[in-house]
Symmetry: C2
């Protein structure tokens, strides 16, 4: 894996390797400005296009980001820690705290663009929720914003037959949120499944999450089940991968 002496790689790759190593070693820290095209041209004796390509490699890897008119900077990675298991522990939402509060620690995560509607269930969701043909779902969409930047898009689906007339269909679900309301309705979530994937964002997702180039999204699909094993909610989340670490703690 050592690149030492591997002179067959294109020059811009080798310059990118050098810069990456200097970032890894801490010579350039998070938020530091990297050498510009002119600096790289002078130091490495290369053409502007080669210098530009080298910086492009680091941008595409998400290691660096361009700021208009200011240069290329080492990406700052100061992610939220999302605890998949502790945060869903009954003690949290049972006490009336939103399940999201464990995510934010001392930083201000805000929910905006909340919308609630009744819709036909998407195919996959209908299957998981075991809906009959034509049964509708209550769809709750919202966006989570941290320090002014959107970091997560979430869409929850719940069977209309389960939640019609309850606060689950209101923008403000009240103390303890959706899961506390489901418990009151006799459908207390007791088991959860989270499925995690990652891919590059679509243009729309990148726009909605104001993402930099070279940054993937993490997709988390969470299903909540009652003690009888009935699926009562599917929550599809799209996370800016530069903003999140997911954590799962469990016993053997």
């Amino acid at each position: 894996m050592a690149n030492t002496g591997d002179d067959r790689r294109p020059k811009y790759q080798r310059i990118a390797d050098t810069l990456r190593e200097e970032i890894r070693s801490g010579e350039y820290g998070p938020g530091d400005r990297l050498p510009g095209e002119n600096d790289l041209m002078a130091v490495h004796g290369v053409a502007r296009m080669t210098a530009r390509q080298a910086l492009g490699v680091l941008r595409d890897e998400g290691v660096a980001e361009a700021r208009k008119g200011a240069g290329v900077f080492v990406r700052e990675f100061r992610p939220l820690r999302r605890r998949g298991i502790q945060r869903l522990a009954q003690q949290h939402w049972g006490n009336g705290r939103s399940i999201w509060s464990a995510d934010i620690e001392d930083r201000s995560l805000q929910v905006d663009q909340v919308s609630v509607s009744e819709e036909a269930a998407p195919d996959g969701v209908g299957a998981v929720l075991d809906l009959a043909d034509g049964e509708t779902v209550c769809v709750r969409r919202r966006r989570f914003v941290l320090d002014g930047k959107s970091v997560l898009l979430a869409t929850s689906y719940l069977p209309t037959s389960l939640v019609a007339g309850s606060a689950v269909t209101e923008e403000d679900t009240g103390r303890g949120g959706t899961y506390a309301r489901l418990a009151e309705l006799g459908h207390k979530p007791l088991r959860f499944r989270e499925e995690v994937r990652s891919r590059m964002p679509s243009k729309d997702e990148a726009d909605q999450l104001s993402m930099s180039a070279g940054t993937p999204v993490i997709l988390v699909c969470r299903t909540a089940y009652t003690g009888e094993g009935r699926a009562v909610e599917v929550n599809e989340m799209t996370l800016d991968a530069a903003s999140y670490i997911l954590e799962y703690d469990f016993e053997a």
Copy 2:
């Protein structure tokens, strides 16, 4: 979020949107060949560069992949399901099965390029394992290959003071693997933490995992703890995101 009538977007973006929608609706299924540059030029009345850019958008998103000389195809996503919790359940490795066997279901996951060495602990690892200055670790590197394609790189770190002279330092750790050996040594792992991130691969990672363009890696860092809370192993895994779904099942 509807693109209808949004004519201010560049033409290649709108062509990409159309193709993406046709893929989403199933008109083009996994593995199907997409219209080529010539087809797109004729259908949309655009220049070759515009057609090429449209296909480039789908490649960069990981929705499609180019095959040399054959065209651009809808990416096939037939991932492994990796169960973070069930697969570590004692019943699995306690019975002498490798913790990885739950991953493969009916497909053939093979381990190759196993190497074991004694090394200085990387900074972060030394801190988690609570090592004294200069204490070394046993480093186990291996690669997991599915159907001929490498899908996961794993590097485990264990304190040398714990495992010296045991089969943990051999290429073949024997029945039940590393965790069964740790149990025999009186350091049975009982609690686990998995931290999950995602980013674009470095050139080396992309090469080692034979990854297509527009595909991120998922990073899983697993720490194993004894009942007394001592960290006995750190395992850093790099997964081809196109090959994996991670699953975590847990109770409220």
